[in-house]
């Protein structure tokens, strides 16, 4: 965890996303280097979550390509999966497993070599260590979100894809999240984050997704 990530670049070229029959966004480009952050902005339905799912590999782009150091991401799913951490709207917490068991399962699944020490540090960082033997069903919404976020530190990965991570968090936890993100970037990690609230990301590029929405008349057929 102490050594930095090698210098890399993550870029999108002409991405388009179609949900149902609707073009959500098209011709979307960005380029992100190690240590940089990308802030996704836009009203509800402008495709922030879709873009993050697309970057994670859960959705396939209708057009365009994603590259890591110039090589297409779609070539090898598993290598890409090892590079990313995705935090979505659901917290993926099993009610009958304890806090530590929940975190350890995801950390080991992401990286079978990840140790208990990393899990303990991650929980301590997000203020959950004193609850580590409490079953998931007793956690509040904010605690569940913090447990989900502690996956980021439980097993290292250079790219963090965070879909509205500050939802349900109190002010102190948002500060912790900002500090954790800053440390990750200082080590050469990348962060792509969507938010409606104020999350302080110094020097982050902003991507306004509503600017990539197609004109209402644009035909879906043009992109599929």
């Amino acid at each position: 965890m102490t050594e930095g990530w090698p210098s890399s670049s993550f870029s999108a070229d002409g991405l388009a996303c179609v949900r149902g029959e609707r073009v959500v966004f098209a011709q979307l480009d960005f380029q992100l280097a190690s240590g940089e952050a990308l802030l996704l902005l836009g009203p509800n339905g402008s495709g922030k979550s879709s873009l993050l799912r697309l970057l994670a590999g859960l959705l396939k782009p209708a057009a365009g390509r994603l590259s890591w150091n110039g090589a297409a991401v779609a070539d090898d799913r598993e290598v890409h999966a090892a590079r990313i951490h995705y935090v979505g709207h659901h917290d993926a917490i099993k009610p009958v497993l304890t806090v530590l068991e929940n975190l350890r399962f995801w950390a080991r699944l992401h990286d079978p070599d990840s140790g208990d020490e990393a899990a303990r540090m991650a929980l301590e960082r997000f203020g959950l260590w004193r609850l580590h033997e409490v079953p998931g069903k007793l956690l509040s919404a904010g605690q569940k979100r913090r447990l989900n976020l502690s996956r980021l530190l439980g097993a290292p990965a250079p790219v963090w894809l965070l879909d509205e991570p500050s939802v349900a968090l109190d002010k102190a936890s948002v500060k912790t999240l900002e500090a954790v993100i800053a440390e990750h970037r200082a080590r050469g990690g990348m962060v792509i984050l969507s938010t409606h609230a104020d999350v302080d990301l110094p020097g982050a590029q902003a991507l306004h997704l509503d600017r990539f929405a197609p004109a209402p008349a644009a035909a879906v057929e043009a992109w599929i």
Binding site: A56, G57, L58, L59, K60, E78, V79, A81, A82, I84, Y86, G88, H89, H90, D91, A92, I93, K94, V96, L97, E101, F105, W106, R108, L109, H110, P112
Partner: protein
């Protein structure tokens, strides 16, 4: 491989702490089989002749009961997205989940089956073959069931749809399972039927996880 054992351990732990699925499946199996002597009458010959069929059909329905939970809980709480984003083949994780499902629902059926065979007056010669057919057949049922369970994710009334999808695919397992026991009871060789059952298991082992993983990816889009 570590990841495979990791997901099996998690699912077993979940099943142990929630506990209801295994008990429900075995209780359904026992209660339904017990209904047959009441319905058919206590005539020993009739029960003896139909025992293999009754046991297999009921085991098949019982193993289907818990199938809709196989992926649904993970789908609803977002775990399935993270499983799909694990740096390993999703097929491997599907195998892990199916193994855990079989250990918690298939294995208890195999334990209960000989006891119920006594109740149905099955000829003692058939007992060993009964256990053997179920050992070979129930993992196939879990594997085929996983395809159905993955396909109905996100569908309304998925449970009913699941039975319609999966039951026709269960027919070959039923035919050869019952055929092997009937042959053993009549002192005929049952090796051929057992080999076919084994063959079906070997075919389902790579094909079913592959199909189920494809259906899961579709469900997540």
């Amino acid at each position: 491989m570590t990841r495979l054992s990791e997901i099996i351990r998690r699912d077993l732990r979940l099943a142990l702490r929630q506990g209801s699925d295994s008990i429900m499946v075995v209780t359904f199996f026992v209660l339904t089989v017990v209904l047959f002597p009441f319905g058919l009458g206590p005539e020993t010959n009739l029960l003896e002749r139909t025992s293999a069929g009754i046991l297999w059909v009921t085991a098949l329905l019982a193993s289907m009961l818990s199938l809709d939970r196989l992926f649904l809980a993970d789908y609803e709480d977002g775990s399935l997205e993270l499983l799909a984003l694990t740096p390993t083949a999703l097929e491997l994780l599907v195998i892990g989940k199916v193994v855990a499902h079989w250990l918690t629902t298939g294995l208890p059926l195999i334990v209960a089956a000989p006891v119920l065979a006594v109740l149905l007056q099955m000829n003692g010669d058939g007992f060993a073959t009964l256990v053997l057919t179920m050992l070979l057949g129930t993992p196939t049922l879990s594997l085929i069931g996983a395809i159905g369970a993955a396909l109905v994710l996100g569908a309304r009334r998925g449970g009913v749809l699941l039975s319609l999808l999966v039951l026709p695919l269960y027919v070959p397992v039923l035919i050869f399972g019952v055929g092997a026991i009937d042959a053993a009871v009549q002192d005929l060789p049952s090796k051929a039927q057992l080999l076919v059952l084994g063959g079906m298991l070997l075919a389902a082992l790579p094909l079913a996880p592959w199909a189920a993983a494809a259906a899961l990816r579709q469900a997540l889009e």
